[in-house]
Each structure stands twice: as C-alpha cells, then as structure tokens.
Symmetry: C2
Subunit: 462 residues, 2 copies
C-alpha cells in the first residue's frame, strides 16, 4: 500500500491537480544529466497516467533520452495511458522484453487498445508475449469491428449459475486465483452462458449465506451487443448510471464485460471529436503533433472553406456595378453575413449537442426546426431594427437602413434553418453531424447574406 | 428482478437505444384519452431515465396532462433524471406527498441536486420530508459552494477501522441494515475519521477471513477535497480510472464519497457547456426551452457580434475611396476574412480542448503557440498562393493576386495567434476559455483581414 496518507498532491484541489513545476524541472534535470536513480526516485510515487502525461509533454529529443533511461520502469499502466499520437514512437524505442512484460500485466481491453492500430507483424510480436488464454481473448476482441463494444470489453468476467446461493458464490470467489483486478458484479448465466441478471458485490456481502443469487439480482439489467457502437455504449452507461455491463454475441451469449471507466474514456473522446470536427480540425489531432502533421490536418477544411469563400465572393461579383454606384454597400455587407454566421452557429451547437445526447430525435425534429425558425425571425427583427437605425445614422439614408434591416431578417431566419438542417442532413447521410458543419452553415449565411443585401439594394435603391 | 431476459430494446445496438415510435404513439394516445391504466402498462418496463426523457419531450400541454395522470408513479429515479430546465414546472404540478415520497427514496447527492437551485421556502418544504439524518446530510452538502465536490458527494459511506480483519468487515456488513444502494469500496479510517486507504469489495471477498484490511488496500488511493471544483473531480476520475473516491473536509476528515457515475454526468455537462459557450449560446439552454427563452439566451452574443461586425465594417469604411476605384477589392475582401476566421477557429478548438483536458499547461504554452504560428504561416503561404493564382486568373491583375496572397499569409498567422491567445487570456482572467471565444477570434481575423488586404491594396495598387 503506497500513498496511504493523502499527500497534498493527491487531492483534487485546483492547482494541485498537475505535477508541481519543481518536480517537472527535477525530471528535466535528471534526463539531461542521465541520472536514472534520480528519475526513479522522482517518479516512484506517481500514478502511471501522470507519468504518461509527462512523457507526452517532453519534446521528442528529451523523450528519447527519457525512454532509454527509464525503460526498465515502463509498465502496463504507463503504456496503456500513452496518447495514440506518440505510442508507436514510444513502443519503437522500448526493448522487446519491456513491452512483453508490460503487456502481460494489462487487462485484455487495454491490450486490444494498444495493438488494434498496429500492422500485422508488430501486432503478432506483441501478442506472442501473452499466454494462450489471454492471446485468445485479445484475438476474439479484435474480430469485432473497430469502435464496437467488442473492442472495448474485457474478457475477464466473474460469472455464477443462478441457482447458486450466496455461500456458494463466496466460497467460489475465495477459491479462485484468477479474479480480475477490478470487478463489481457477478453475472448470472445459464448453462449456455446467456446472461440472466447480475448481483452487486455489496448486495452479496450483505446477504445471508443461504439466499439464492437469483433473488438478489439488480432490478435493472442491460446487456450490450458486442457489435454496438462505442458511442452508444457510452450513452447507455451515462443514461442508466451503469457501473459495468455484460457484452453478448449475436446468440446472446456472454463474451465479456465493459466497465464504466472505459465508457467514460469513450464519452470524453466523443466530445473531443465533436469539438474538433465542429472546428474543421482532424479528429486525430493532438497537442504533441509536429508542425507538419498539424498543418496537413488543417488543410482539407481550409481548402473546402476557400472554395466556399470564392463562391460567396462570386455572389458579390454579380453586384459589382451596384457597389461601384454605392460604396457603402461594400462597407455594410459583411455585417449581414457575420450576424448570419453567428446565429447559424448558435443553432448548430444546440442541434449537434441534441443529436449527440439523443435529445433531438424524429419526434421533435419539426418542433425544434419551427422553434429555431421563429427565434431566427425574432432576433432578425431585433437586430435588423438595430442595424437599420445605425445605418440610417451612419450613412443618412433611410432606404439603406431599410435594406440592411430586411436582409438581416432574411439571413437570420435562413441561418437558423441551415443551423439545424445541415447537421440533420449529415446525420441522415451517415456522417458525423459535427463534421465541420460550421463551414457549410456559414457558406449558406454568407451567400444568402450577400445576395439578400446586395440584391435588395439593387432593386430598391439603384 | 425485472428485465431478466435481455429484451431487444435493452441492447445498445444502434436504433434500439431509443424507445420505439409505436410506444411513443401509444403513450400520446393514452394521454389524450386520459387512460391511466394504459399509461402504467406502457411505462412499467421502462427505466426512470427514459421516462424522464419522454416527459421532457412532451409539449407543455401534454406534459401537464401526463403529470396529472401519472403523478402516482413519479418516483425518485424519474424525478432526479428530469432536466433542470423543466424541473420546477414538473415539481409545481405534482402533489406534495408524491414529491415527499420520491425524495425519501433518493441518495443524498440526488436530493442536493434537486433542491440546490430552489428558493428557501420550497427547499424547506422538500427537506421536511426527509428524516433527521438524511436532512442533516443534505444540509451539510449544501453548506459547500456550488459546483464543488461537497455538493456532488453522497454522505452514505461504508467505513471500517484499519485494524479490522476481513472476517470482522464481512460480519459488520451482514449485520448493517442501512448500507447504501450502490457501494464498491470500504474506506478505512482512523479514530478521527481520517481516510487511510480503501479496500475493493472484490478483494475483500477473495481474501481469507483472518487477513487484515490494511494489508489488502488498493495501491493508489486519492481523497478529494470537498471544496474541489466539480470539473476537477471529473478530471481526476477520468485520469486515474477511479470508481469511487472519499471526500474530505479542511481537516482531512471523511465527509462523503463520490462515485464515478456522478463524475461521468459532470464530464458530460462540462462538454455541453464547452460546445454551447463556444457557439455563444447560454450554457443553460435546452431543447425544451420556449421560443422566447431561446431568443433571449441568444441575444447577448448576437449583440456582441453586431458591435464587433460594425467595428470590422468601419475598417472597410476607412478604405471607401480605394473600393470606389477598384470594386474587385469588395468582391475579394470577404475571402481573406473568412479564411482567417476558419483558421482561427481551428486553433481555438485545439486550445480550448487542451485547456479542458489539462494537456495545455504552463509547460507547453510557448511550444504550442510557436507551433500554431508556424502552422498559420505555412497554411497562409499555401492558401495565399492558391487564392493569388485564382485572383490573377479571375481579374487578370498580377498585383491584385500578390496583394491578396500577402494578406492571406498575414491573416492566417494572426488568426493562429488569436486562436490560442484569446482562450489563454480568458483562462487567466478566470473566465471559461470557451466563453464565445469564436466571436473574439473572428473579430480579430475580420479586422486584420480587411485591414491587411485593403491597406496593402491601397499602398501597392492605387
């Protein structure tokens, strides 16, 4: 038992969450002087997840030096926490026996996570370190599709027949020597391994020895298909406050179990994807990526955006002669476009979030679309009036004020519709609704904004 | 035990996650005909969280009808899952005895969540339903700041002295009749209730009766300060894969426990906030809000945006005579601004995410800022060359192509800097870094984009 007395850095208390500056400086110094003993002393009390973070944050040269000094201490916990972006690099620098040892310590789900993106030969090399049972478990998981519950589950499950008593179950647990590191439930199965319910360990401990397990199962019991998408798995854990859930194959037979900590990691990754996709950044991007990797990831959406920006510009091109007659149009037109982009993005965020949390469904599509359109109209009227008045004062033209006000109403209404219809359409097409939707929405609001404002001005003023 | 056999809708398998259309239609029909018996039959097999979702999705008139038909069945599980946006409305429509009964079933953390936003008289009314111990627990939690670990914890903790044996602990659990609904660990405490470590129930069950609890505690043990921010609590659970963690007061005495399912809910809410704040939507917004509520929530950032848009427009106003001489400038200028906005938003998303996951810290600020600036310069060069060539072909002017290319390089570099410096500044000021940062970033990229392009054109071409 280490860390028995809660040290200050163990408390979740604001700044104390991150390793203190002095510690990091000490680690840097130990790396630079090649002082393995000092490095071991500094890192000994730290959690593997924090050591992994430190490795991620080192610059590549120091990281190499660190790995050669510290390789003997890299264990399964550290390895499974290292960010995918640098994992290949780290593995490439570690001696084969260190990796083999680390992999043997891991639960099957962590091994799957480690090897699933590897090429066949590297993967085989790592799996060779496992004993036959563990290797079979990993290979079974890998047979399920990427991002499925089958990839997320661990195969180590504690099961019992439902006709057992509490006493029999307790005796069984005491005699077993292969129990998983962490488990919270016993899954009851029939002779063909169909899960029937589960008993929490707390309930088991609190019950008398002659009570039947089938009489103390939890009220609510859910199995997860091994083919279910991992995002749906995270949703189910969050929705029903599950701690662990049995995973079944197509014949409803138990093949593994997923625990909530893995579901929480998935939830976190899905949100990361949403934020990065919404901004048109590759979902794989990481703070440790190099300049070239980063620049390359950003190109696709910048390229899309330049095309849509040229399209919007060519709308303006249609009205060159109007602008030549009234330069104020060029001054004012970005205001209409910008407000449309802003309003559209607001609706978009609500829609993307609603789809992610399954709050926006077929039942309420129409109601939400209607609400957003009315909100767009209403805010269009408010800000149309505001900008119309400003324009009147600025340029002294009532007509110009009326035109910009009307264009604002049109653009904010269209913006609201685009903000919800773009993600719904992406979802219908089977794409992620967050997939750089702002680019599509602002294309609509730029084109409509310029067209409405310049078109109305041409018709009404010139 | 209900739901013993996994029914199809219990499986996390794509479309099966949501209640089927026919069921919802059946519920609508039962509400419209006032058929309580039918409503009970339809909802009986459903989880409280799903019933809460159905209540949220009903339109207000049907919701009132539903609540009066179904009020007898509203229990603690349903009530604690109902979205805050409509919770007051729902509580207002339920008979006092239904609420009292529901509240008595809840864990103390769910009661805290229910009453914390209520006015004093309503809160007192609800707390009056609790017995003295539970009420004291809720009041203890409410004494901690909003969004703190103290508000999130439940006070029901299973503890044991560290000198106990496994046999003594098991005997204690069997004799207790107040054990919490869900618990996964026994927290070891000294005589002054300082937590010393914890034992998982799995480990307890697998150990011999004469083993001391202190010899089977978990390696890694973390306490959480009751004053820690809930976002930090979620971070700690996610980082260290905790299942539950003891909460301590300023004197390091045990006051409660937080379980991972509550931390997962916080993580989910924090992400929702990030997405909504980034889009300039009030963080409290919900799909169930009315048109007026929604319109009002969106006004503040639209108002901010109109001011910044007018500022950008007045930059254009400085160059009216240049535009009058060369209308092509008006056509092209939004392209420079739009690309800047896009590139800035990309950097922003990475920065906001990095701050949220504590991947972006003082240690690597400078490295990330440098990386982003170089990426901005590089992509500025690529897209500057592209748009310069397009402009040359479109308008047949080499000079105009050179000007827009240069302006693009300048704006994409500034965009990258704004994308990271705006959220860092908000964080430094103690604000949420996601707080509508896109509005600030696009203000910078609009102003710089227009100024660089029109300014260069004026100097170089006219």
């Amino acid at each position: 038992m280490t860390d028995q007395t809660p040290a200050p850095e163990d408390q979740a208390d604001g700044d104390k969450l991150l390793p203190p500056r002095e510690l990091l400086d000490g680690i840097d110094a130990a790396i630079d002087t090649g002082d393995t003993a000092q490095l071991n002393t500094l890192l000994e009390p730290m959690h593997g997840a924090d050591i992994a973070d430190i490795i991620e944050r080192l610059d590549p040269a120091r990281r190499r030096a660190f790995l050669s000094l510290y390789s003997g201490e890299i264990d399964g916990e550290i390895l499974s926490e290292i960010d995918e972006a640098i994992r290949d690099e780290v593995i490439g620098q570690l001696p084969a026996e260190v990796i083999a040892e680390a992999v043997r310590e891991m639960d099957s789900d962590d091994v799957v996570d480690l090897v699933e993106d590897m090429a066949e030969p590297e993967r085989e090399e790592i799996l060779a370190a496992l004993d036959a049972t563990d290797r079979a478990a990993v290979q079974q998981s890998l047979a399920y599709p990427e991002y499925s519950a089958g990839r997320l589950m661990q195969s180590e499950v504690v099961t019992a027949p439902e006709h057992w008593t509490v006493g029999e179950a307790v005796a069984f647990l005491q005699s077993e020597d292969w129990l998983p590191e962490q488990f919270y439930h016993i899954v009851l199965v029939d002779p063909r391994r169909h899960p029937l319910g589960y008993v929490t360990l707390g309930r088991l401990l609190a019950s008398a020895h002659d009570v039947l397990l089938r009489d103390i199962t939890e009220d609510s019991f859910r199995t997860i298909s091994a083919f279910a998408e991992e995002g749906d798995v995270a949703y189910v854990f969050n929705q029903y406050h599950l701690i662990s859930a049995p995973v079944v194959d197509r014949d409803d037979r138990l093949v593994g179990i997923i625990t909530i900590d893995d579901a929480m990691v998935v939830l976190d990754q899905e949100h990361e994807e949403d934020i990065l996709l919404l901004a048109g950044v590759g979902e794989e991007s990481s703070l440790t990526d190099s300049v070239m990797q980063t620049a390359r990831q950003r190109v696709p959406w910048l390229a899309t955006n330049i095309l849509t920006a040229v399209a919007a510009a060519s709308v303006i091109g249609l009205f060159e002669s109007s602008i030549a007659q009234l330069v104020a149009l060029a001054v004012l037109m970005p205001i209409v476009a910008s407000m449309g982009g802003n309003a559209g993005t607001q609706t978009l965020a609500v829609a993307v979030r609603g789809l992610a949390t399954k709050g926006l469904t077929k039942d309420n599509y129409l109601r939400v679309i209607r609400r957003e359109a009315v909100v767009g109209l209403l805010n269009g009227a408010i800000f149309g009036l505001a900008i119309g008045s400003v324009t009147y004062m600025w340029f002294g033209s009532f007509g110009l004020g009326a035109v910009i006000g009307l264009a604002m109403i049109i653009n904010l209404t269209i913006a609201a519709l685009a903000g919800i219809l773009v993600p719904l359409t992406l979802e219908k097409l089977g794409a992620d609704p967050a997939l750089a939707s702002p680019t599509f929405v602002t294309t609509v609001t730029d084109v409509v904004g310029f067209f409405a404002f310049l078109g109305l001005a041409t018709v009404m003023l010139l």
